[in-house]
Symmetry: C2
Subunit: 270 residues, 2 copies
């Protein structure tokens, strides 16, 4: 039986940085974590509300909650910690000690981490626009601007991976499907021949592709296991012949695929 | 003059959790951080390579680098720390102490945090598909499945915000433009009338909208400051009359907008 434990992410800003640490809870699979986000906690009243919720969760679980907090205001930090919980305080754990190392006082204003002022923000927005405009081979124009072009059979994960690359890393990621016409011609799409060095292939296990396609078009030739097998085998052969690096999306998240693709792009650039 | 300092994100997985802590560097605006990601650092050889890069960066900056690390393997952790750097070790500062609190040994395998096994992963992928299929009012079908429907004038930030909501939080976020026909009719689009409780409005300052639209269609009526002013004023009036909550995207990031929208959705659900 799983133990239930509540985790609060309490921030004076978006709570997204604190929330990212929530991924680390995956290291404790025996516990079921009920996650509560309390962004914009930037007044005494909101701190009091948060404390009430901590006490209620403690009573409900029969165990004190875990609180991951990022609060610039020192009084708010102290006030919050009056409630009994296990606190992971990003300021006292990370930011303040880092300030000592850097010999700088950290900014303590609210919502520092996710403002539009970040120097990469506009780059990310541009990349998202580019990626949405170059999804699924919808245009050949501007491919020279792409930093990577993902290719692969329909429904192998190109679109969400492209968007993640753009949103998280500001990478202009186009994607281009490999379709039956390409397999009949036995060649990658001609329009990609100028861009071979930017291509990255995604592939997938036939059984998984069959299952994904069947959700969309049940009992179709398109979704049949035989057709999935043939498309994948041909796509992999074409990519290999063209020297296109390739990763299998079957058991990898878009985060993992993106990290692999970034390494390839950066090694190429370096 | 800004001080240059190199920050390494060294992980045996994607490095995305470690990288998220990079947002905290925004608290130190006097330093320019050159960021280097070393994901999949999961062998003695890769640890040695990382140590070499740390030493080179130290020589180049004239100051020891900051290293944010997430390595499950205890020997790898010790080996890496032989190189002179300021280490922020997610295991020793976060995961191991949390294990004591939870009375559980943490998993130390590689790439735990961003695997496809996470129970919210499929939800996020479904939400991305939904959001892309319901971008810019492209279909009226399935709006009852949406958890939120963003509305607003063209180019006010609906699309990237919707995608962020889906990708980060697994929220099915449709978006629907308010267009000149709506302003002439002086009413929100009829198809939305069944979904008033799911609507969330984005607005923007006329000067900013004029600038954004001018990039796309310079010197057009569409991009003119007068037209931007009129569209925004009418859109805000229509949203207010219908009781639609609204946020200004001019000086807010998609992270900030999403956090605001999530609060509204969750308060509604609760």
């Amino acid at each position: 039986m799983q133990i239930q434990r509540t985790v609060f992410f309490i921030s004076d800003g978006t709570g997204i940085t604190a929330g990212a640490l929530g991924q680390l809870l995956a290291h404790f699979p025996q516990t079921h974590f009920a996650q509560v986000r309390l962004p914009f906690t930037d007044s005494n009243q909101k701190i009091e509300d948060a404390k009430q919720r901590i006490l209620i969760a403690k009573a409900g679980d029969g165990m004190r909650p875990v609180v991951i907090m990022s609060l610039g205001n020192i009084e708010h930090r102290a006030l919050l910690k009056e409630a009994d919980a296990y606190y992971i305080d990003l300021f006292s754990t990370f930011i303040d000690p880092l300030g000592v190392e850097l010999a700088q006082e950290p900014l303590t204003g609210k919502g520092i981490a996710h403002s539009v002022m970040g120097n990469t923000y506009n780059e990310r927005m541009e990349a998202i626009n580019f990626t949405l405009g170059h999804d699924d081979g919808m245009t050949h124009g501007g491919l020279e601007e792409a930093q990577v072009i993902l290719i692969g059979v329909s429904r192998c994960g190109k679109t969400p991976t492209s968007i993640f690359l753009a949103m998280q890393f500001g990478v202009k990621a186009a994607n281009y499907p490999l379709i039956p016409e390409d397999f009949e011609r036995n060649a990658l799409p001609g329009v990609l021949s100028k861009h071979t060095d930017k291509l990255f292939g995604l592939t997938i296990k036939p059984e998984r592709l069959h299952s994904v396609r069947s959700e969309r078009r049940p009992n179709s030739f398109y979704a049949s296991l035989d057709n999935c097998r043939n498309e994948i085998a041909t796509a992999e052969r074409l990519m290999k012949a063209a020297g296109v690096p390739c990763a299998d999306s079957t058991s990898r998240s878009i985060e993992e695929l993106s990290a692999i693709i970034l390494q390839k792009i950066r090694n190429h650039v370096a």
